[in-house]
Symmetry: C2
Subunit: 208 residues, 2 copies
């Protein structure tokens, strides 16, 4: 792993991967260019070439990128050439939505364990997975060597759970709670926040 590649570059690779995958689904071509990719994504072609150059030579002057090859390389770079099992904490409305989310398949992830604190919920099945009590969290994380956890819990519970997950060895947390969580260096955190996405769009809306 090349540690000197800026995180912001890593953050753009899944977006390139998604755009390339859509090109494959559209099925109308086998090659693309940094210009075409850039136009789709609103990113300059120079930026895309520079980002990819951190990892090697993926295209040729004049012929561009072979889409399938570039997808394969991006999946390898991002460690998506396998399926990552994911633990979901929180089986409320959001947890139910995530458990039923159709977007995980064939993109590298599968929700394999679900935890909740509510006695009524524990023991029930959600998308064929039996919901466990969150008291068992560390035990399962350690035994199964779970590296990725999605937190779909209220704001008040997020930090305490993050601390427990880090102690148990988790390396990546995607959290939906509207609160910032602290983790030690080396542990990845991503926030899913609809407000940040909405705020990006209001710039373009007419102020009346």
């Amino acid at each position: 792993m090349a540690d000197d590649i800026p995180d912001i570059v890593i953050g753009r690779l899944p977006i390139y991967l998604q755009a390339l995958t859509r090109m494959i689904e559209d099925g109308d071509k086998t090659t693309t260019s940094s210009q075409e990719l850039g136009e789709r994504l609103g990113i300059s072609s120079a930026q895309i070439r520079k980002d990819l150059s951190h990892f090697g030579e993926f295209g040729k002057q004049g012929t561009g990128y072979h889409i399938n090859y570039l997808v394969e390389q991006l999946r390898r770079i991002l460690h998506l050439d396998r399926e990552w099992p994911v633990a979901l904490v929180g089986a409320g409305f959001l947890g139910h939505a995530l458990a039923h989310y159709g977007g995980f398949k064939r993109r590298g992830f599968r929700i394999s364990w679900i935890f909740d604190v509510d006695a009524q919920t524990v023991g029930q099945k959600l998308n064929d997975i039996t919901i466990r009590h969150v008291d068992n969290l560390e035990k399962v994380i350690r035994r199964e060597k779970v590296q990725i956890v999605v937190l779909a819990v209220p704001a008040v519970a997020a930090q305490g759970l993050a601390d427990r997950l880090v102690d148990a060895g988790v390396g990546a947390i995607l959290t939906y709670a509207p609160i910032s969580i602290s983790v030690p260096p080396g542990v990845q955190v991503q926030y899913s926040d609809p407000v940040v996405q909405l705020q990006r769009m209001t710039y373009y809306l007419d102020a009346e």
Copy 2:
């Protein structure tokens, strides 16, 4: 509105706003610098200064940025110096989670209308809002001049609803469906996709 500012710059402004707001909540200082902000966010200080320079002079060499002032300016630039009413389409698990989401308050948005297609759901209240039948979508959007819609619907329904929303005059759509939607130029679309966020983190995880 300055049309020549790259969208990727606009996309970083809510992230700056969020980090600055957290600094205010932490309450330990009144000024910050592009260096400090950059370290928090993993973005270079030069990039932050360049991004902000599109909109004016917000800081001074040596003293940095007054946090409250910069927050106020970013809110003005992003048109967040008001509250935007938002229509939510889809009152399933995800719709319920969004209706109860605590992160909208004081950040510029309020879910004001909720629509669903299910006869059992229509007429019920969700977080004090009566769920309306989606047949009334265009009527309400036009009458209330709704500009922002959140789509929490299955993939198969997303494009059809997007077409109807665009026809009715909506300018910004945040969609959770795991599918790409087409809209005419000038209409903003943001995708909430847990997989893209997970893929960004697996780069840092050990491949076993």
